[in-house]
């Protein structure tokens, strides 16, 4: 009963769980969004001002940890979802909430189809649901916007959902070690039954997936990061692994204090659009690792480590726009207990990837970030953060990330006790 139980128990711990801060950047960098706990913060880079979210969908605002935020590829729409079982669909132009979908279970991942017509979200039971957004464009009544189950990973929590660049497939990764590639059908609400491939090779949970594509390779190659300290490159049509990059080994070498075992878990990946570079967040690394992909040789290797000095800055999430000027990085957690701040979010920015040479990338000072102090005040909740908050938060960040990615382990005595007290187990003669 283990897994079943904890999923159900989880439902009652509302508000107590610590969630990592997450970040997303608009595809053409019109805005940047950060979510910490139930708080969704958006800064309008075009207008150079903080955004006031307006909810006229009639649904409630988020009231528990937000676990996933996403812009659609066109930049018109935005979704936020999480532990409060709400999937909120926003206009990324006016920042009105257009619609609120109620999920039966907590939501762990979301994606918007490339044509903006479907929102897909994954729940705590491993089911991926589809919501048809046609009605939004047609100004119809939104009655038929109930989610329908499309596919499922049998009782494994889905950590990441991605559409392939050509829109033909939807990729779902889970806390076991599976990546499933499913044909995205013409009528998704009737179910996505046709599995194209499984990308199998990771030996721990898969934390993140992302596509790398170029004009020459419009179908793209898939990248995945995992608790097994590797980033892998896949051909999704066959599910075969093209290359495996051991980032753990590299991160360990570079980190003097990276002594703990779980320290090289890959927590997030972000492809720098239009380049061959992939930014990687690693559990112990104060900064990011940049991998370089040779798409014709189909290889992946470490190009550089960009460290972020001071501050104990271990990223919890990465975001990048397709115009690729900047890599947005956040670290933070909700529910920092015993501090003046209820939560922590610290935003840093790395620039210079466009040059095609990772050596030209630099970490911007706060006053060099577009939006400057106004942006930091909005996204962080405060302009400057005291040093001691960072060190206090470091532990919390770690806990939040492992809670998110690792399965709960039950002590063996408890498991034995449960077994012993089962009725059907009593010896029958």
């Amino acid at each position: 009963m283990e897994e079943d139980k904890h999923m159900e128990e989880g439902e009652t711990e509302k508000g107590l769980e610590v969630a990592p801060a997450i970040i997303a950047s608009h595809p053409t960098q019109n805005s940047v969004s950060v979510a910490v706990g139930s708080d969704l913060r958006v800064f309008d880079l075009r207008g150079d001002c903080p955004v006031n979210l307006v909810d006229d969908s009639g649904g409630p605002m988020h009231n528990d940890s937000i676990r996933a935020i996403r812009y659609g590829a066109s930049g018109k729409r935005f979704v936020s979802a999480g532990d409060d079982k709400l999937v909120k669909i926003w206009s990324a132009e006016t920042w009105h909430c257009i619609h609120t979908v109620n999920s039966e279970k907590r939501v762990t991942a979301v994606a918007i189809s490339n044509d903006d017509l479907y929102v897909c979200f994954a729940d705590k039971f491993g089911v991926v649901w589809g919501v048809d957004l046609h009605a939004l464009d047609d100004n119809q009544t939104l009655v038929n916007m109930k989610p329908s189950p499309m596919l499922a990973h049998y009782c494994s929590i889905i950590t990441s959902l991605e559409f392939s660049p050509d829109g033909r497939f939807i990729v779902s990764a889970d806390r076991d070690f599976k990546i499933r590639v499913t044909v995205f059908p013409k009528k998704p609400l009737d179910g996505a039954h046709e599995i194209q491939s499984y990308c199998l090779g990771h030996t721990e949970f898969v934390s993140c997936v992302a596509f790398l594509c170029t004009l020459d390779y419009p179908h793209g190659l898939l990248l995945s990061g995992s608790g097994d300290s590797t980033v892998r490159l896949w051909d999704i049509s066959s599910g075969s692994v093209l290359d495996t990059c051991e980032v753990g080994a590299k991160a360990g070498l570079l980190e003097s204090n990276g002594s703990e075992e779980d320290s090289s878990t890959v927590t997030d990946l972000c492809v720098i659009p239009g380049s061959m570079f992939v930014a990687v967040a690693i559990q112990s690394l104060q900064g990011i690792m940049v991998l370089s992909c040779d798409i014709s040789a189909r290889t992946l290797c470490v190009a550089k480590v960009v460290s972020i000095p001071g501050e104990n800055f271990i990223p919890t999430s990465l975001g990048c726009s397709s115009s690729a000027e900047l890599l947005w990085i956040v670290t933070g957690v909700s529910n920092l207990r015993g501090f003046d701040y209820p939560s922590l979010a610290r935003v840093r920015v790395i620039s210079g990837f466009k040059k095609g040479n990772p050596d030209s990338s630099i970490v911007l000072e706060d006053n060099e970030i577009p939006g400057g102090e106004k942006l930091l005040e909005k996204l962080q909740g405060t302009i400057s953060i005291e040093e001691n908050v960072f060190s206090a938060a470091a532990e919390a960040v770690k806990t939040a990330m492992s809670n998110l990615l690792l399965k709960k382990q039950y002590p063996s005595e408890r498991r034995e006790f449960r077994k012993r007290t089962r009725n059907d187990r009593k010896i029958k003669k």
Binding site: M1, E2, E3, D4, F125, V127, P149, L151, A152, Y154, C155, S156, D176, F177, K178, R180, T182, P185, K186, D190, G191, A192, H193, E194, I195, S197, Y198, L200, G201, H202, T203, G239, K407, R422, D424, R425, I427, K428
Partner: protein, 252 residues
């Protein structure tokens, strides 16, 4: 012969394992987490362990040979044993969640291999949760037959998602079955029979076999007679409900 003197779990007269030493609880919860090894991918499945005669370590020439039949929730293994001699050149595997039952089937097969020289080399059993790990064992389109005989009924509505046939799991079975592959289901629980039929009927990648096809297929006759559960139902004069469907290319 096996060391039947020293092993009390084997019957002295037949050399076969005695079932009462392998009794386990009636139902396992397929959602609980694994405490058994899982192959990382189908290419990591070690065939030489399961089918030593087909895959002697010195002779890897046969490495293109793949498992073709899977008996899901094989229980005590009766179906595998009947199929083994009917399709002597086909590799088949039973998947079973209960540890003790799996051990029993392993012993049973070993004993049969010994007492029937050169037979029963094509069948094997593995302990796993088929609801989670089928893609770890089989490649796309690898299987030609899958069996679901007398699966646990999970009556309560909230436990329906534990049923081994569901719309979502059929997606996986459609993935591991080749085009034209056949899925065989049977149960003595009418409600479950209806459920399995409805799922298969609604799934775009499965199509019912015609009456003549069912009659011509020698395997269909085994569904109600070959397994321990089937024999029990037959002894008690129970009714059975079967659904046999073929994997097809989805229309559109």
């Amino acid at each position: 012969m096996l060391q039947s003197k020293s092993n009390p779990t084997l019957s002295k007269s037949t050399g076969l394992p005695r079932k009462r030493f392998y009794r386990a609880r009636a139902h396992s919860n397929p959602l609980s987490d694994s405490h058994f090894p899982v192959p990382v991918s189908p290419s990591h499945v070690d065939y030489s362990l399961s089918y030593p005669l087909f895959f002697t370590s010195s002779d890897q020439a046969d490495s293109s040979r793949k498992i073709k039949f899977a008996d899901i929730g094989c229980g005590f293994g009766g179906l595998l044993i009947s199929l083994s001699t009917l399709f002597p050149d086909t590799l088949m595997i039973g998947m079973e969640l209960r540890d003790k039952v799996t051990e029993y089937v392993k012993e049973r097969i070993l004993a049969l291999r010994i007492s029937n020289h050169s037979q029963y080399q094509n069948i094997s059993v593995v302990r796993t949760n088929s609801m989670k790990y089928i893609p770890n064992y089989f490649e796309k389109g690898q299987l030609s037959k899958m069996f679901f005989l007398f699966p646990d009924p999970h009556f309560k509505e909230k436990n329906h998602r534990r049923r081994v046939i569901s719309m979502h799991l059929l997606d996986e079975y459609a993935y591991v079955l080749g085009i034209g592959g056949i899925i065989y289901t049977i149960t003595d629980v009418e409600e479950l029979g209806d459920w399995m039929k409805t799922c298969l009927e609604s799934h775009p990648m499965f199509e019912a076999l015609a009456e003549e096809e069912l009659e011509a297929d020698p395997v269909v006759k085994l569904l109600s007679s070959a397994t321990e559960e089937g024999q029990k139902v037959a002894r008690n004069g129970g009714q059975t409900f079967q659904a046999v469907y073929r994997r097809v290319v989805p229309s559109q």
